[in-house]
Amino acid sequence: MIKNLVILEMLLPILIGVSHIVNRRAHLVYLVTCITNVVVCVAAVFICIHVFQSGDMHYYFGGWLPPAGIEFKITKFNSVITCLISVISTATFLHGKNVMFDEIDISKINSFCGVFLICLAGFIGVLLTNDFFNLYVFIEISSLASYSLISISKDKSSIKAAFCYLIIGSIAATFILIGIAYIYSASGTLNIDDFISKLPNIQESNSVRIGYCLILVGILIKSGLFPLHTWLVDSYKSTNSFIVPFLNGTSSKIYIFLAINLTYLIFGIHYSFHHLNISFIFGAMGAMAIIMCSLAALYQSNLRNMLIFSTVSQIGYTFVALGLGSKASAVAAIMFLFGNILAKSSLFMLASNIYLNRRSYDMSKLHNLKSHMPIVVVLFAINGASIAGVPLTIGFSAKISLIIELIKKDMWVMLAIVLCSSLVAILYIWKFMETFLYSKAGSINDSKRKDGFGVYSERELYFPLSIIAFLTGANLICGVFFNRFAEFLNNLIL
């Protein structure tokens, strides 16, 4: 029974998504999508519990055994990430009713929700599959869906951004496909477990090396590491505010998961870091991302753009942690992943709520938010603190585990970069906090003005805010029980 949940988790969104084509009633579509999300989420939690109780699970499609057949393999690691992804997707949907009906044309909502579900199914497939070619297929499914999700917006430049993303994403996918072909030619298998068992014999083969590098480059492009991040910035900037928290929590993070999987679990620490020495690439690109994007975020006067650049710099931290090549650093990277998914998605959701009230993301319009939306400001402060690395949040746990690893490896320059950029992170979060807390210099009457800015006041947004508060609470719990959380993550990647 529980085995069939695995395939249900992936197939249900696809089927419901396709069925949305004939369903033209927008509110019904929204409701059905929500229910689907919740079902997927519950299924993911059940599978996760089952995996923790009785070890890894395998699902063979059509009963065909690997290496010939296609296999889904559910380990502790990917089941936890699946839970996280489905929770974020559910949260986005439950939270975003106002945003969605506000920003998306009501005639497009059925196709939008359909594509959204297909995208979710693609991501879940990427996480669960144990087959290289299948991996590529799911990457393509999810990417194609996300291109179209990005293109739907009131801002026409989103179409251009989506087109750019389409081209860059297709190039990345092609890299991955060619890499898989190289690996297949050397090993003669597409099943990942089978490949791992064959790897010691073909380690020296050049085609494995080339294949590995090509897949890695593809993954780096897709995850938006610094010099390859332009598509991410452009598309998040111009798309609708509903989809950004979802894409932030899933699309680039899935590829970070793949990078951890590829370097630490499939090829192993020895092959990746001693045989090929990718730690330099990760470290250099990550450091550049941290420096450049923290500074870029500091100079943004647009709330959403600040959050986007901050996201890219957080991806940089994750890769710096990954590049250290030890188990503890992988744990740090996963902590960054968790922190980024929970805190940054909540921040994007908060930003969309602020947009509902003020009709602008621009700093000059956001003064004195605290007297109109006090809860939003409090939640923003907590999640911002997590990004900046203030104690008792995941961000802090992640940062100190990274710093301890850096000190152990005597990487002082990197340490200085990480510390200084976390200072910059405090600055850019604080800049907006200050805007929220004070009224504009000179206009004292601002606080007396009634909620005349937008359609929505905070009273109408209590339900969405409770969803964000839930994510924030999860963030704080993981941050407070730092030791147990680290132990838990350590168990994931045994």
């Binding site: 690395g389 203030v390 104690p391 008792l392 100190i400 710093i403 301890i404 000190i407 152990k408 340490l415 510390l419 200084c420 976390s422 200072l423 405090i426 600055l427 604080w430 200050e434 807390l437 004070y438 009224s439 210099a441």
Partner: protein, 494 residues
């Protein structure tokens, strides 16, 4: 033995609960603004009496250092130095609550709920810093102390307050992230834990590493306001007088000194520091840094024209004296530093209280307006004089005893010329700038009439005068307090 343990646990819980109780009272009683002050004062006074009972119980335990588990998983550290610190802070906190009963009545622009809420939270953080069993917990509460004092500094929300509080936050958090945190994490990665222990835990690291680490701590704990890191303290003086009095003369800055003492005694170990800190021209490098800080701050203090910034620079000056005393690194020096810490706290809080009284009375904050005040407000100015003489270090007052003890420590066994000379210079400079004010206060010739006085006169008898009287009694009868401190400090195991 066991029953005592049990008793101490409950008493400490009482002490920790009292600021939280005050904070919740402030929140609950927000509708009855005028009545919050009195219950809060009573609670805080009660908690300061409890600290005395804790000290008595601790004496009967007869050990110098103990870790106690409060409840599941929460461990606190008890030793003489933090008991002295807690007693000092809680007494002066209750005095401030007494003082602010009338102060808030007279300054309606301060929001009472916000004031009491964040003041109580800051005091709670200070208690937690004092009781922290290891550096990580200490660091967490150190950051929270900075964050919880921020609203008090920026309380009015004007342009000047906003800028000053920004500098305040940036300097404190910046220094702690860039210097303090890496030093802690270095210890963490090389020792594996940072728990305080008798004789130190880091006494196997090479000498130059210890020197670098100690300098990182010295500048990272920017709350101790050593000179290049001192900018925040004069900026923080935009806060109201009670806040400046209890936080920026006592709780915050003294917690900086306390952390430095704790680190040198229980992390590095005094003997190890004495032998291993690098030397420069036959003088300990830490002593040189403190001397530089001492001299620079003395010179800057000479040129101040506003009472609050003068008091701020005088505070920086006296804090440097504490650090200078500590930098001799032997048991007598630690005693001297603790004694000076307490005597300065008593003297400086009296000065702040008295100048707050003057401000309430006639809105004076410039030093040149102090002329002739001695005739108008005889009693308060007499108390002001006592406190100023104590800070200078004239006999029978608190400052004399503590400075004499520092001389004694510097002359003990081998003469430390650098400390002797710099201390003498700074005493002369302090005498110069304080006697200048005292002279103008009692100057009969140039008398300015203060008009607003009549409005307030009838109210002033109340709590403010009482609080000033109590704290100045502390400076006058410091001999007795000094006896008790010495008795407690004899218990410290080095």
């Amino acid at each position: 033995m066991n029953s005592f343990d049990h008793k101490i646990e409950h008493l400490i819980l009482l002490i920790l609960a009292s600021p939280l109780l005050c904070a919740s009272l402030a929140l609950m009683l927000r509708k009855f603004k005028t009545y919050i002050s009195i219950p809060i004062f009573i609670i805080s006074f009660f908690s300061s009496l409890v600290t005395l009972i804790v000290i008595k119980t601790f004496f009967s335990l007869g050990i110098g250092f103990v870790n106690i588990e409060l409840f599941y998983g929460v461990v606190i550290n008890l030793e003489p130095i933090n008991l002295i610190f807690i007693t000092m802070v809680s007494f002066l906190w209750s005095m401030t609550n007494l003082y602010s009963i009338s102060y808030l009545n007279m300054n309606k622009e301060i929001i009472a709920v916000k004031f009491y809420l964040f003041l109580s939270l800051s005091i709670f953080c200070t208690f937690c810093i004092a009781l922290a069993p290891n550096l990580i917990v200490l660091f967490v509460f150190y950051e929270f102390l900075s964050l919880s004092t921020y609203p008090l500094v920026s309380h009015l929300g004007g342009d000047e307050e906003r800028k000053s509080s920004r500098v305040y936050l940036y300097t404190l958090i910046g220094a702690s992230v860039v210097f303090f945190l890496p030093a802690i994490l270095y210890l963490m990665s090389h020792i594996g834990h940072t728990t305080f222990a008798v004789g130190g835990i880091a006494n196997f690291l090479p000498g130059n590493v210890v020197t670098v680490l100690f300098i990182l701590f010295l500048y990272g704990v920017a709350k101790s306001a050593i000179v290049p890191m001192h900018f925040w303290l004069p900026k923080a003086m935009v806060a109201s007088f009670p806040v400046s009095a209890v936080l920026h003369a006592v709780a915050v800055v003294k917690s900086g000194i306390f952390i430095m003492i704790k680190i040198s005694v229980y992390i590095f170990g005094l003997k190890y520091l004495r032998e291993n800190i690098s030397e420069f021209f036959h003088a300990n490098i830490i002593t040189i840094l403190c001397t530089v800080s001492l001299l620079i701050s003395s010179v800057i203090a000479l040129y101040q024209t506003r009472i609050k910034s003068l008091l701020a620079y005088s505070t920086i000056n006296q804090l440097s004296i504490c650090l200078l005393a500590l930098s001799m690194f032997h048991p007598l020096a630690v005693k001297a530093a603790v004694i000076h810490m307490v005597s300065h706290a008593l003297g400086k809080i009296t000065l702040f209280f008295a100048s707050g009284y003057v401000y309430c009375n006639s809105r004076i904050s410039d030093l040149k307006d102090f002329k002739g005040l001695g005739k108008k407000m005889k009693f308060i100015m007499a108390l002001f004089t006592i406190a100023a003489l104590s800070i200078i270090g004239l006999p029978i007052f608190g400052g004399f005893i503590s400075k004499a003890y520092i001389y004694y420590a510097a002359l003990y066994k081998s003469v430390n010329y650098l400390v002797l000379i710099s201390l003498t210079i700074s005493v002369l400079m302090t005498a110069h700038y304080f006697i200048k004010i005292l002279y103008s206060i009692y100057d009969q010739k140039s008398f300015i009439s203060h008009k607003k006085e009549e409005e307030y006169e009838h109210k002033l008898l109340s709590s403010m005068t009482l609080a000033i009287l109590f704290t100045s009694c502390g400076t006058v009868f410091y001999v007795f307090i000094y006896e008790y401190i010495l008795m407690l400090m004899d218990l410290v195991e080095y």
